[in-house]
């Protein structure tokens, strides 16, 4: 297993001084496929946004491999919930995947043969080669989701933060997505995906983060994904202080 670690220490993130995530600390290592679980408003998207620097930290720190992720393009890649893009944008599937290389290459470095090879490889691995020249609005929801995942893959970042990647996918699409996520983790990357369907958690993820404004539990799925922990996550008021031992 890879020794790269993502360390989050005492992280608090607020909206207008009202905290959405309280004093979160955990240490994740690469090579794992981690589910981020919690009810609506638990702070899942907030956590992702804070990790990539879209929201300021009220307190605490995030370190990847011993340093703060100052080069976001090569350390972390973030895939927001679908429908945040303009689907009429003049871009093909290949163009979307190439954007991942642009993010890695920076503003002016030349797009060379190696970059072309990576793009072709990503398209083939996601079964998108035949659709490569299609405009993205001509794809189904699942195919679009795969194209955006392709953008993240072409970026070759270490940590993948995926906000509800399974939402809106049919059975075939879900299987293809779970197979892709497992293969990303197997290559030594860290995958953290927020997820709503509790039934599929054990088969898809080997670690689980249970979040509800505060960290309720974090660890291997078979140890942490228990009836009691799920109840504590989904049936307790957001930030009750229970998990911090402030209330008994």
């Amino acid at each position: 297993m890879s020794s790269h670690r993502l360390e989050i220490k005492d992280l608090t993130v607020s909206y207008n001084r009202v905290p959405a995530i309280h004093h979160l600390s955990m240490s994740l290592s690469c090579g794992n496929c981690v589910a981020l679980l919690g009810p609506n408003g638990a702070g899942k998207t907030t956590l992702f946004k804070a990790m990539v620097g879209l929201l300021p930290k009220e307190s605490g720190s995030i370190h990847f491999h011993g340093h703060s992720p100052h080069d976001p393009a090569t350390d972390l890649t973030y895939l927001p919930q679908s429908n945040t893009q303009d689907s009429d944008f003049p871009i093909t599937v290949r163009g979307v995947v190439e954007l991942g290389r642009f993010l890695r290459l920076g503003w002016w470095k030349r797009f060379g043969a190696e970059d072309q090879r990576v793009v072709d490889e990503v398209l083939a691995s996601l079964h998108l080669s035949d659709l490569a020249d299609r405009q993205i609005s001509a794809l189904s929801g699942g195919q679009q989701q795969r194209a955006f995942l392709g953008r993240a893959l072409a970026q070759e970042a270490h940590v993948f933060l995926l906000d509800e990647p399974f939402t809106g996918l049919d059975k075939g699409g879900q299987e293809m997505m779970s197979e892709t996520l497992r293969s990303i983790a197997k290559r030594g990357n860290l995958v953290i995906a927020s997820h709503h369907d509790l039934k599929t958690v054990p088969e898809l993820f080997n670690q689980v983060i249970l979040l509800n404004g505060e960290l309720v539990a974090f660890g291997p799925t078979q140890e942490v994904f228990t009836e009691a922990n799920i109840r504590r996550t989904y049936e307790t008021e957001s930030f009750s202080g229970v998990s911090h031992g402030l209330v008994t």
């Binding site: 946004k49 990539v52 620097g53 879209l54 080069d71 976001p72 393009a73 972390l76 890649t77 973030y78 927001p80 945040t84 893009q85 303009d86 944008f89 003049p90 871009i91 093909t92 163009g95 954007l99 642009f102 993010l103 290459l105 920076g106 503003w107 002016w108 405009q135 953008r151 970026q155």
Partner: protein, 315 residues
Amino acid sequence: MDWLLEPFRHEFMQRALFGCALIGFTNGFLSAFIVLRRLALMADALSHSLLPGLALGVILFGLTPTSVFFGALVAALMVALGAELISRSSRVKEDTSLGILYTVAFSLGIVLLSYAKVRIELHHYLFGNILGLADSDLWTIYGISFLTLVVLVALQRPLQVMLFEPAIAAAQGVPVSKLNYLILTLLVLSMISSLQAVGVILALGLLTAPAATIYLFSNSFSAMFWGGGILGMLGSCLGLFVSYWLNLPSGACIVLVLGGIFCLAFLFSPKYGVLPRLFRRRHLHEQSLARWEHRKGHLQIVPPADLPESRPDAE
């Protein structure tokens, strides 16, 4: 052939053609970013906002290219930034604050013009006069075109990511708000360069129609700005010729030519034109009907009389 070369015998036409080609290309190139960033209304608002700065510049420093340039630039940027400040710090949305600010700015400009010692025709500001381009105007156009094109070509990667997925761009370290301000600044500069030639109102046509036309043909980002530039340049030159031959106002002719090309694309573009799409849809419908007819021959259709009398849920 003589009829084609005849206009070039006049020096004012040579200048006009050079100015047209440059403004057409630069504004056409920039139009890709205006269309994709959906800034057409913002551009309209900014076009009116140049007036008070221009008037104040003329009152304080006289009618010189520098006073017009800086006056217009400061006024337009103040309106754009003011609209954003109001929308960020209150519940009033940006389009509303922009609507208020630009009408106030335009009104202020009209009032200020009456204090100017030099007479400035409002008609001239709105519709320009490409046949009266002075050397200083040509230098302004040349400088602004050069700056705009170099900046847009150099920053096309971050701009593409920002226009397509602003959230991703921000997450991956692209300075999204700085790039937004940059596009606005280039937009204002392009309007100033178009001021004398086609006027600010008609500059809007050049800043939207070329890329919107290419948008109906292509799915390539780079085709949109290079194609927009070329179309803007050719359309402007053709418009100038039409205005010469028919003895009509040049700015209006340029925009009418570009508008006409857009209408043709809207109707006939093979990919996204209305008529080919209609034809394709009908063709697909007929194909699907034929497929159904063909399959029906192979299906075993059970006549209603042969259906079992009692259904399991009939109890």
